[in-house]
Every structure is written in C-alpha cells, then in structure tokens.
Symmetry: D5
Subunit: 123 residues, 10 copies
C-alpha cells in the first residue's frame, strides 16, 4: 500500500542557491485498477529544494510501495507529486511518469507544482 510516511528528507546543504535536482526511477510498477494487470513506468522527479532535499533510498522505497496498488496513470502521477510536495516543500517540482505500451499506445503524464521560473538550466 503506497505510504507517503516512508519519504524522508534531509537539510538542503546549499539553501541559498536555486539549483536543480533530477531523480529518474526506471523501475516503477503498479496495477491497472480495472484489469489488475501490471503497469510499468519510468518516473522522473525534478525539483528546486527550499529547506529540505528528498532522501534517495526513501524515495526508492516509497515508489516500491505502489507495487500492488491498483491506480490510474493520471491519478498516481498527481498523488506522488502531492505527497512529495507535502514532505519536501520545494520551490518548484515536476513529476513525470512514462508508461509502457498498452494496446499499441504509450503514455506520459507530467504535472508541476510551484513557479518554474525560479531556475533555468542551460541545454
């Protein structure tokens, strides 16, 4: 059962700078709420921390806790974002899920919280 209390944070070591943190989990899986068949996704988290950063091992365990939950793509994406925002209180955060092909169609859901103008990355 997905459990947001698993998420741990640690003090941001450079709170005075708006720098970007990107974590990409390649091994997310949950269940389809209709058919109970497994779904697989890549979960990309991008954020600008304020006072705390998300601890990486707890992020892994939190994502694992969806393994046997039945939940829709659109719902799980927003729920993970909401849980992480609540625990970490970032200046800006984006959560994007990219799902494996089902019926010849692959899907990406991408949600944001906060002001994306706080920082820019040179690409």
């Amino acid at each position: 059962m997905a459990d947001s209390s698993i998420i741990e944070v640690f003090p941001n070591p450079h709170p005075d700078r708006n720098y970007l943190i990107f974590h990409t989990a390649h091994e997310f899986t949950s269940l389809c709420p209709v058919t109970s068949q497994p779904d697989f996704a890549r979960v990309a988290l991008r954020y600008v921390a304020q006072r705390t950063c998300i601890e990486l091992r707890s992020l892994k365990l939190y994502l694992h806790s969806y393994r046997n939950d039945g939940i829709f793509y659109e719902d799980v994406t927003n729920k993970i974002l909401n849980d992480l925002v609540e625990r970490c209180e970032p200046r800006w955060m984006e959560l994007e899920t990219a799902w494996s092909v089902r019926g010849g169609i692959d899907s990406v859901i991408s949600a944001q919280h906060g002001d994306s103008t706080v920082v820019h990355r040179h690409t």
Copy 2:
C-alpha cells in the same frame, strides 16, 4: 468507418491542476483516398484536461475505426482533433500524425486547439 461516438471520457481526478497528458499510438493505419493503398502513421495526442480525460482503450478503438477509410493526411489530422475536442473539452490539445515514407518523402501534420500557455513542461 471512423466513429467519434466510440470515444469515452472519465472525470479528471485532479481538475484543479493544469497537467499534461500525452498518448502516442504507434499503429495507426488508413487508406489513401486516391489509390486505396494503405497509409501508416504514428498518432501523438497531447492535452491538458479540464473536467474529463480520454479513456485509453476507447481511444485505441476510435483510431482503429479509420482502418478502411480513405482520407487525406491533412484532413484526418484535423478531424481526429475536432472529434477529441468535442468529446473531452480540453483546456489545450495537440494532435500530430507522422506518416511513413511515400515516394521518398515522409510527412508530419500537427494541429492544435486552445491556449498552449496553460502549462509548460520542463525539458
């Protein structure tokens, strides 16, 4: 025969947030209206939902319903967009079709509905 009544929607689980939904169908096929020869395309749908989201299985069946229709690239792209806009009433929607090589030329047609400034994705 293409039939927009196949398209089903469900309530947007997070209507208060402007998040992006991307579905990419890799297996679209229709017929050339002049030669009746098969055409093949990848169909990419990107949108920001308002009150409803497009149900994925019904999207697959709706796209399959073009299988034996003769229709031009430019026309089918705008027709699919119009049908989906009518059923889903999104804040913003883009429909892009990418067609296999014919006579050494490949083609992409890309149409939008609504205001693209409602949301931005960090890339």
Copy 3:
C-alpha cells in the same frame, strides 16, 4: 482476403549465380483471429532465386491482402513462405515476421525453405 495469385514473378536476369535478394516490408497488418484487433508486423523475405524473381509491386499487394484477415502469427508466417515458394521456386528462402508489442511481449517468427548453404553473405 489473402490471395497468392497476386504474386507475380519475372525471369532471373543472372540465373547462373547464387546471389541473395532481401525485401523488408515495414507495414504489414492483419487481424487477431480471437479478438479481431489489428496486429502489426515487419515482414522480411530473403531468398536465392532459381529461374524467377518475385516482382516487388505484386509482393506489396499480396502482403496488403492480409489486411482484414484473422490469422495467428505462426500460421501467417508459414503460409506466406509456402505461397512465395510455390510461385517463385527459389533455391533457398526465409520468411521472418516481427510483431509489435502485445501485453508487454514482442514476437518474431522465422521459417525457411530449402538449403541455406547455397550462398553465404560476408558480414
């Protein structure tokens, strides 16, 4: 309805040499005989001609004739091979179909007719 009489041949312009001919059709589609849902494959034909070669446009039309047939992967691969062998009488022929992902699984079926030692290709 798949129809082997569509296949046309022309005289092999160099019958005295065992050379290889490879045609790869990227746009094959048929129907699942159980669900009637569309299947998509890449069809690779490789052969050493004897007296006749397969005419390319007729090969395309023959493959198109499966568009609305319900047929299993294993069956259609062997059926196409048998039809082409009957029309062309090659020294050696291989027919391989590579199918799009279904339920997270992609499939390849590969069948041969005749003696593969007649020719080797440097790779």
Copy 4:
C-alpha cells in the same frame, strides 16, 4: 506464486517444419530472496516447436505470477525453462533473462534445452 499450470499450448499449425518462434517479455519483475527488494528483467524465449506452441496470453500471465516471489536469477531462469519445456515439449528451447543494474552490475542468464542444430536463422 509462480504457477506453471497457467501455461497453455495450442497445436503447432506447421509441425513438419523446424521454424523458430521468439517471444521477448519486456516487463518481468520478481523479488530478491535476500532483501525482498524488487528485481526487473527482460525475458527472451526462443524455441522450435514440435507438436504444440505456447499460447502468448498465458505466457504473459505465467510470467506475471512471479511478481511477488523471492527467487535468485540463476534459479528463476532455469525454472521458467523447465516449466515451459514440460508443457510444450519443444525440439529446442532457450530462455534468457537480462536483469537491471544492481550495485553497478547488470546480469544475463541464458539456458538451453535440446539440440540447437535443428534450425538455423539467416542473420
């Protein structure tokens, strides 16, 4: 709990020809028997059928049945091969699992049953 009775077979439509069947499942997951953490693999099945072929949907469900089993890489690879050999009685079969990176190391386990000389594929 992994259950080989899920595996279904159907009569080989062309039993007189030694042709190759390849199925690649991109979404296999089980648990580490030591840490209970999830493992992820790509499972490639290649075989030459005798009297029966493996039904694709049942193969998917059989692989899904390992989802919450704790089992070692080397063990699960040989176990899947043994189960499929028992149900399908192929002329030749190969089962290969390719596992995601753990501790900076990725792993592949590859086991065979029967005589690999029954058929050759032109590459």
Copy 5:
C-alpha cells in the same frame, strides 16, 4: 530542368486553423555547377497553409526535376522556397536542405518566408 509548373495544390480542408505541415524528402540530388559532380541532400519543407496545400506527388516530381541541373546549395534552397511560396501562398514556410559530406564538410541551408509566430508546436 527544374520546373515550378509541376507543383500542384489542392484546397486546404481546414483553412480556419493554423496547423503545421512537414514534408521531408530524403532523396534529393542535383549537380555541382562547377565540377558537374552529383550532390545529394535531404529537403525538409515545413509550412502553415492558407487557402491551398501542396500536393505530395507533384512535390516529389518537382524535386526530381533538379536531377540534372547544376546549381549552388544557397541558390537552390532559396529557389525551391520561392517557387513553393508562389504556388501555395502559405501563411509561413521554411525550406531546409541538408547536404552530404564534401571534403569532410557537411552543410545545411535554411530559409523562411512569412511570419513564424502564426503557430507553435509543442515539443
């Protein structure tokens, strides 16, 4: 001899929407005006139609008509753009040619006509 009269147009089926049309010809060839040696390019046409769209087969034949013409990269790029603008009267059009390596150098020439702000594509 390159001949702009080959270019045919058809009525834009959705003239009320500023949608993008991209055609990429992978097989363009002309001659170097100095050495008469063949040059090879990929020609990418992108435009927003007004009242008419460019017919795809006529575009192919028009591009083929440069096959035995001696013409510089910079000149042919602008000439094709001018010819297509004259026949199609688009809201916006871009013509880009990408040339094969000569003397260890590859080249791209990219020219536009009209106002590129009429439409945006989400990428």
Copy 6:
C-alpha cells in the same frame, strides 16, 4: 550511360597477403526501367585483391555513370560485380546494393564472385 571502361586499377602494393578492401558508396542513384522514377541505393564493395586494386576516384565516376540509366535492382547489382571482376581480377569479391523504401519495402541484393574462404576478418 554506365561505362565499365571508366574503372581504373593500380598494382596491389602487398600482393602476397590476402587482405580485405571494403568501399561503401552512399550516394548511388539510377532510374526505374518501368516508371523512369529515380532509385537510390548504398553500394558496398568488398574484395580481396590479386594483382591489382580498384582506384577509388574511378570507382566513384563509374558508379555515377548509372545516374540516368533505367535498370532493375537484381540486374545492376550483378552487372557492377561483373564489370569490377573483369577489370580487377580479384581473388574474391562481393557487391551489395541496399535500396531506399519503395511502397513500404526496402531491398538488399548481394552477389559474390570467387572463393570467400581466402580470408577471414575478426569481428
């Protein structure tokens, strides 16, 4: 008009060793003998020289001489091989043409002359 007299050779600087020479021409074009439409191919020449090697610039000009000839895939492949064998008298030679997609099908034709066992390449 294709003209084999263009092909020039020079003395093999190391005639006592069976070494491999590979030349790959990325820009071959000829015409379809039926429709007069352009065809495009990549031409790969691989050989073990005896007393003479093929001069590279003359090979380029010889291949260019097919530019406005109407000729079938199978025929041109064997004709180029025959012309090069006649001029160079190699211990072994392979000529392979890989043609652009036509009607959703791409083609490769591969022919050899002489004994391929004279040399092996470690791969």
Copy 7:
C-alpha cells in the same frame, strides 16, 4: 582530499567577447558518505570567462582529488561550483553532475552562478 588550490587559471585570450566554454569530465568518482561505497558521475562544466580561463589539466587533477572523499551528490555539486567560481571569477558558470544508477534511480544535480543571459548558443 579534495583541494581547490590545485585549480590553475590562465589569461582569457579574448576577454572582450562573451563566448562559451564547456568541459565534460566522463570519469568522476567519489564515495558515498553513508556506506563508503564508490559513486560515479559525469561532470559537465559550462562557463563564460571574464579575465581568466580554467586550465584543463589542473581541472582534471582537481576532480581526481575527490576520489576517496565521502560526500553527498547535492553537496559536491555546489562545492565544485563554488571552488571554480572562486578561482576563475566567471561572468556565468554552470556545474552539472550526472550520477550512475543506484537502486534503479539515476540522478542529475545542476547548479549555476551568475547571469545566464550574458550569452546564447544557437542550437
């Protein structure tokens, strides 16, 4: 022990132009401060110099000096940036670290100093 005194600079040969300098080190390694296990990263440095440029060999040695230090991703990224800013006094600088997969998750940390509008790169 990481030591910023290793970093050497040389006079900017073109101080009147805001041009970009990018250095990407593919072989950075440090230790996890919790487990003492090795971490591996690609370190990308991008900057616009003012009076001095960073000497490349000293940059390499400075990055090597982290080899046996235990330090967190977020901390080391900001520390390297701070050290380089102090020694080089650039108009703008970005430091990005991209870390190998740990627990199925890869990470990128990206920090900037100064005004990114001083220069733009055409892409």
Copy 8:
C-alpha cells in the same frame, strides 16, 4: 601556418533574405602548444550572410592550414571566427569547436559575432 587569405567569398545569391548557412567540418586537427601532440575537433560554422557567402572549398583549405600550428582551444575558436567575420562580413556568425577527449575530458568552445535575432530556425 594558418592563413586567412585562403578564405574566398562569392556574392550572396539572395541578399534580401536572412537565411541560415551551416557548415560542419568533421576533420579539423591542430597541435597542442604545450606538448606538440595532435588535437582533433569538429568545427561547426553557422551564419547569416550579408553581401557575400564563404566558398566551401576555400573553407576546407583554410581549416587544413592549422594542421601543424600549436594553438589553444579558446584561442583558435575565436581566431577562426575573427578571420571569417573579416572576410565575409556576415549579419550574424557562430563558430563552435568540439574537441576529442583528453585526460577523460572533452571540450566545446562556442563564440558568436553579431545579432542572433536576425533569423530563427524552426526545430
């Protein structure tokens, strides 16, 4: 010895349009001024011409003239840009050099002249 007098220009055939010209030289080599060891780079030139365009063969010979010169990355990039600006007087020009790995680090230097807003390319 690098010699800017080698650079030749020809009249811009379409001086009334702000179109982009990109040349990428894949085979640049010079010497390290400290160790005299060879350096290798890809040199990308992008510009909007005014009255004259840079002649491609003379560009190749000009770049070759650095072959035995000892010069730093930052210096040679700005020097080539300055030489080309002086000879061609473009509306805008960018010169970017991308250098092979040295000590596990690869480098890119990117400099511009003039106003980059004169033209935009749709990507």
Copy 9:
C-alpha cells in the same frame, strides 16, 4: 588492496545444465602503475558454472578493492580471471575489460579459461 578472499560463492542451483551467466560491471576503476592517474573500465564476466556460482555482491566488493591499486590493463585482466577461476572452478570462464580513451586510444583485453565449446548461445 585487491583481495580475492572477498569473493563468495553459492551452490549452483542447476548443476546438471551448462547454462551461461554474464555479469557486466560498469564502474571499475584502478590506477596506472606508471603515472598513478586513475583508469576506468567496464568489466564483463561470462562463465558456465560447475558446482558453485559467484555471489554478486561479493563480486562488486572484490572489483572495488582494485580502486587504489596501480596495475597494467593486461595484468589486471588475467589476475581477475585467475582469482575468479580459483574461487569458483567454472567449466568455462571469460573476463573482458574495456578501458576508457587514453591518448585517443581505447583498449579491450579479453582472456578465457577452460573449454568454450561446453555451451552455445543463440544470437
């Protein structure tokens, strides 16, 4: 200091079958014995077990133990192979190291122990 006593083994769960086990460590690093500069490699281990298999976590720790050792490419490759052979007593084993570019040259060293004919993998 590299220490072969770290390597642990466990009983082969299927000792009656000659199956292949491949482990690829992407993060190996040691020191150059001449310059003391870091070297980086990918280490690929492939083997057919007899009575015991190599435990994955101990393999990781064993490879980490070379981190501060000065040792030549050819030597370390054979030494790792010898250590693993001694601990695991495989039917066949191959150890291959692939080293990062030094002076524009990358290197691969590949050594085997035992009889490679015990098993073949279908590719």
Copy 10:
C-alpha cells in the same frame, strides 16, 4: 616521417595464456600521396601476444608519425601491420583502418598476420 623504431614493447605478463588485446586509435591522420590533402582514419589493432606486448604510449606516437606522410590506404595498412609484427612478434595480429568519406565513399582495409585460430572470443 613514419618511424617504426618508436614502437616499444614490454614483457607479456601472462605469456602462457592466448588472450586478446584490442587497441583502437580514433585519431589517425596522414596525407593523400596524389593530392596532399589530409586523410583521417580509425585504426584498430587486435592481437594475441607471445613474449612481448606493445606499449600504448609508443603506439600512439608511432601512429602520429604518419601525420605528414603521403601514403595510400592499402599501403599504410599493411605497413603498420608489418612494423608491429616485426617489433612484437605476436601469435596473431589484425590491423584494420576505417577511412572518412571521400567522394561519397568510405573505405575499410583489413589485414592479418599469423593463425587466427589461436584464440576465440565469446560474442
């Protein structure tokens, strides 16, 4: 001037095992003997040592010594092989040069010395 006396060797640390050593130099350049224009190649050396191994830095310097020599592809490939064989006396050696595109054609020359059966690499 190319000078084989630059090549240094060191004692093979494991002379009792037939293991493979591969060095790939990505930055070889020489001159065309006819036009004096630069040629660029990737040089791959593969060998099984007997009593001595080739020292990597001296290999780099030896290859650099061709920088201003005019020499044909076929000649330089065999000359490098002969020089390395003379200095190192390997059990087996292969030298392969892969040259950049000239006139739309790229070339590979591949020569061997000794018995290739002394060792096999699992691929």
